[in-house]
């Protein structure tokens, strides 16, 4: 990802120049442009297959179509997004790498959006099938807990405190929160549950072909969209980090100048 960052894309505006957005470089690159178009194309294909080509289900009827976005969205946030946050957090704690700290944060931010989408589509699906939007079922409850945990993670990332200590705390929370994903994964096996178990059994021949295609299109579309969003989100964060570092340097220079030759040696203010 870093190799795509051209040198001028991180320059940003100078600290004394409050100019318009034209002084910012774009966060887009050839790779993200292609990724963006692929996301759009796969979403179009998903809409065609999910809404038009695939048949209604024998007992659920039309509401089965929520399956093609609900499950892929859950897979993208729970398996991909928060795993990236976990890995980024571990690497950050070991190497204090700002890059991985920002990757972890960007992935969690987009992941929380997908998790909210998963909960929303699940509730919309629950009403016509189960008969209720929400019930305190093990999987629903553990997923709601994760949603709150990662909201907390994002809140910690914005605490007004020393950036290094803040990133450390966020990383620790990013690792702890990951443990709950294991509970979500096995909740339907450990507890009796209203929520259905794992759907994608490779031996399961019950899934109609066009349903299977719709599901995989959902997986591809949401994964590509996720990747596109995370790369852009990371680049914005990276630019902000550069800007902050630059401003700190200017601030130090200004202070050194104002304090005079003996200013800093005397211990400052």
């Amino acid at each position: 990802m870093t190799t795509e960052m051209s040198p001028e894309s991180v320059s940003g505006p100078s600290s004394t120049d409050q100019s318009g957005p034209e002084s910012f470089s774009t966060t887009a690159s050839k790779v993200t442009t292609v990724l963006g178009w692929l996301s759009l194309a796969s979403i179009a294909a998903l809409l065609a297959f999910g809404l038009l080509i695939s048949p209604p289900e024998i007992s659920q009827g039309e509401s089965v179509r929520l399956f093609y976005i609900h499950v892929p969205s859950a897979i993208v946030c729970l398996y991909i997004a928060f795993s990236i946050t976990f890995v980024g957090s571990v690497i950050y704690l070991r190497k204090q790498s700002v890059f991985w700290d920002l990757v972890a944060g960007a992935s969690a931010e987009v992941g929380v959006v997908f998790l909210g989408f998963t909960l929303a589509t699940g509730m919309l699906w629950g009403k016509p099938t189960w008969g209720t939007y929400w019930t305190w079922d093990p999987r629903l409850t553990s997923t709601a807990v994760s949603f709150v945990l990662y909201l907390g993670y994002l809140a910690v990332r914005r605490l007004d405190m020393d950036p290094v200590a803040r990133s450390k705390r966020a990383a620790i929370l990013g690792i702890i929160s990951f443990a709950n994903l294991i509970i979500i994964r096995y909740s339907v096996a450990w507890w009796r549950s209203l929520h259905q178990g794992t759907t994608l059994d490779p031996r399961d021949t019950q899934l109609d072909d066009s349903m299977l295609v719709s599901f995989f299109l959902g997986l591809v579309a949401l994964s590509l969209t996720f990747a596109w969003l995370v790369i852009h989100r990371f680049r914005v964060a990276w630019l902000e980090h550069q800007l902050e570092a630059q401003q700190l340097e200017v601030a130090i220079a200004e202070r050194t100048a104002s304090a005079g030759p003996t200013g800093l040696a005397a211990g400052g203010a």
Binding site: P21, E57, W130, W190, W191, D208, A251, I252, G268
Partner: protein
Amino acid sequence: MVDNWPHSSLQRSDGSLTEIDLTPVEPSSTASRNKLRNRLLMGGVLVLLGFVLFQALTSARVFFRNVDEAVAERAEIGDQTFRMQGVVVTEPAENSRGAITFQIAFNDVEANIVHIGEEPSDLFELGMPVVVEGHWEGDVFASTQILVKHSESYVADNEDRPGVGENPTYESESNDGVG
């Protein structure tokens, strides 16, 4: 694309920078004690989490019983509210007071259900696995909520396929959980 990341607050609208306190911070003598306290606190939280998880795992079965267990434990359950799961084995009917009456079964043990409350979903019918919430009133289970468990299999609704009523594919799952 440019969002309000907190670090940018270093810069004022006139372009100057807000003052940053660059005074060296005295290393705290209580730092190591704080570290120990934090670790103890964190350990305490983890132990508490483990306890809650253990409690949830062991009590989950009490809250969510299969019909055969609920019938066997009827005396000790008393009038406690709990959830019972089974498959609808008789055609649901509406009685004179507007209640829905039907029977559900699990492991060949049946129970009479009288449901007064919100209408169940359209999927509710003979042969579907359900979870009912309520309590025992004598031999009858007084239900306040019917939740329909949909199965993991998705079958295309083709015209040449028989309807659900003629082809009940739903069987009681051996979902025994941990308890």
